[in-house]
């Protein structure tokens, strides 16, 4: 494995992590389950690409600024669409919401397939990749994203979302506006997915509607569940592991996805709470544990 290859996978993990963080808030902390986030990623990818390629307002030397602008706009466009979708579907219960988001995600892909402005099914090639989605940029964005998510989760709003996850009816009785908080959660996750889309487009250099199929959404949700619902550090670890796993298994070629499928089933049976099981990884508790073990020894 060359260094470039490892950096490539790290960038890919960082991009996956963006969406996974949003999904962690939506699924892990608010208890909503979405199959449509590939749609939000697609919206982000196409918006960011359109801005960097067709609305170049900054000079060549300021490419990074243009890139960041594109990402933020991509996030906001995604968020706007999510507000519309949320308004229509967030009143649905359980699996009805799942299937509605599935329908939304597929609909976005089919619309992009047919719009010639976005290149139709052939997609958009020649997206600038130099100096845009670099490892440094991805790390900066991911760090900001993780910090924001942790702040949101530990705020009053985050606690309201957790209350909705635990018991929707009880949350409503103590005066939490369930619909509003579901909406906020969906909007934030869509914002993250939009930025991830922008990063992805500028990493690969081309985008096609077929890249945003249902399997993309499910893969990301699997990462969140694998790491453990209700745990940000779990999401980070799960995303890293599951992005690396198919790459490590690449020498098995066709069998790698078979192993991937079996691994998911195994972890659901053996450790259904995911790797972190709703707990956060904290350096202080880590040291405390070590300390405690030593005490027992002495």
């Amino acid at each position: 494995m060359g260094l470039d290859y490892v950096i490539g996978i790290l960038i890919l993990s960082g991009i996956n992590l963006m969406t996974a963080l949003g999904l962690s808030l939506l699924t892990g902390f608010t208890g909503l389950f979405s199959f449509g986030h590939a749609g939000f990623i697609a919206i982000g990818a196409y918006t960011a690409t359109t801005i960097t390629m067709k609305y170049n307002i900054f000079p060549e030397s300021m490419l990074w600024l243009q890139f960041y602008l594109a990402l933020i706009v991509a996030g906001f466009v995604s968020m706007l669409v999510s507000l519309l979708i949320g308004k229509l579907t967030l009143n649905l219960k359980g699996d009805y919401f799942c299937i509605a988001t599935l329908g939304f995600g597929e609909a976005i892909r089919l619309i992009l397939d047919n719009v010639s402005y976005f290149g139709g099914a052939r997609g958009l090639p020649n997206i600038p990749t130099v100096g845009t989605t670099t490892l440094t940029n991805v790390i900066i964005i991911d760090t900001i994203a993780v910090i924001c998510i942790v702040f949101i989760i530990n705020s009053r709003h985050g606690r309201n979302m957790t209350a909705i996850r635990e018991d929707e009816l009880a949350a409503q009785t103590i005066g939490i506006n369930v619909f509003k908080y579901k909406m906020i959660s969906l909007a934030i996750s869509a914002f993250y997915a939009g930025i991830a889309g922008g990063l992805l487009a500028h990493y690969l250099g081309f985008i096609q509607p077929i890249m945003f199929k249902l399997i993309k959404s499910t893969e990301l949700t699997i990462m969140v569940v694998f790491g453990g619902l209700g745990s940000v550090s779990g999401t980070v670890i799960g995303t890293l592991l599951l992005t690396f796993l198919p790459e490590v298994l690449r020498s098995f070629y066709n069998w790698r996805l078979v192993i991937y499928g079996a691994a998911i089933i195994t972890i659901m049976i053996a450790r259904p709470q995911g790797l972190m099981g709703g707990k956060e990884f904290r350096i202080i508790t880590f040291f405390k544990k070590i300390g405690r073990k030593e005490e027992v020894k002495s």
């Binding site: 389950f33 699996d95 799942c98 299937i99 949700t221 691994a263 659901m268």
Partner: protein, 293 residues
């Protein structure tokens, strides 16, 4: 007018295939309250089983369809035993079932790609002549008629089992309340075994018929998204709803590809899905609005 009639028959035959799939999905949902994403894998394996029965073993068509159904039924049951039953014993939330089901579907799909069968598209041998049957001026394709008739027979058999037999009674009771039926002495494990067997049998038949009309390939499990949509149209967990929703979806699809554009066919179906859910959040025949998840 003739074209219209032909499209109606087309729509009915596609719709009846969707019905076979969504009924199996709905049966599982009605008792276990989760979307069984592994259903697509069972349908795909069924299509391959039918293909190999016809080409390698060279058995007659009727025998092939029975063997396929049994094979797919056994597969569905073993998925339940290996994947879902450990979760069920622990009373895991439905989300974990959903994720395991997706894992199983990824596993099955890539198993076929990695095995000697490979990712190539295969088409069934021509068993029936392609000359259409003429009724008046309307040409009806033989395969469409066959699909419709076989689906109809299977669905009638299923409804007979559910409505008239003792096993069917215990299925209905368990769908109503698992706890209550357990107290009344219903063996819930056996009921779950039977619904997976029934769903698998129908999925096998659906896969084979679908493969005959189009082609067989490892990703064909994706058509189950259509059957999910059909089931939601009708209301999750309701069998008549699943059948009506499927026929409706089949008709809408063929009509929109005939009169609007085949490119927008799926888009129209998905848009309609969201629209129906906005107007009637529990589908056309859905019973409860209670969140069971």
């Amino acid at each position: 007018m003739n074209v219209f009639l032909q499209q109606v028959v087309n729509g009915l035959s596609i719709g009846s295939i969707y019905a076979l799939m969504s009924v199996g999905y709905s049966l599982v949902y009605s008792i276990m309250n989760f979307s069984n994403f592994a259903h697509g894998g069972v349908i795909m394996i069924g299509a391959y089983l039918g293909y190999f029965c016809l080409t390698q073993l060279g058995v007659p068509f009727i025998l092939a369809i029975i063997m396929t159904a049994i094979g797919a039924g056994l597969l569905a049951v073993s998925i339940e035993k290996i994947v879902y039953s450990p979760l069920r014993k622990r009373n895991a939330p439905s989300l974990y079932f959903l994720i395991s089901a997706m894992g199983a579907s990824i596993f099955l799909e890539n198993m076929v790609i990695a095995s000697p069968i490979g990712p190539t598209f295969r088409s069934y041998p021509a068993i029936f002549s392609t000359t259409p049957i003429m009724i008046g001026n309307t040409a009806l394709s033989r395969i469409d008629l066959l699909m419709f008739i076989i689906s109809l027979i299977s669905l009638i058999l299923l409804i007979f089992i559910i409505e008239k037999t003792k096993v069917g009674l215990s299925i209905r009771a368990t769908a109503f309340s698992i706890k209550g039926s357990k107290l009344m002495g219903v063996n819930v494990d056996k009921v779950i075994f039977i619904i997976f067997l029934l769903g698998g049998l129908l999925a096998g038949i659906a896969g084979m018929l679908f493969g005959m009309k189009y082609t067989v390939y490892p990703q064909m499990g994706e058509i189950t998204t259509k059957s999910f949509i059909a089931a939601v149209f009708g209301g999750l967990g309701s069998l008549p709803g699943a059948v009506i929703g499927s026929i409706l979806l089949g008709l809408i699809e063929t009509m929109s590809s005939a009169y609007i554009s085949s490119q927008y066919r799926d888009l129209i179906a998905f848009t309609l899905l969201i629209f129906i859910l906005i107007v009637k959040p529990t589908g056309l025949m859905g019973k409860s609005t209670e969140d069971k998840a």
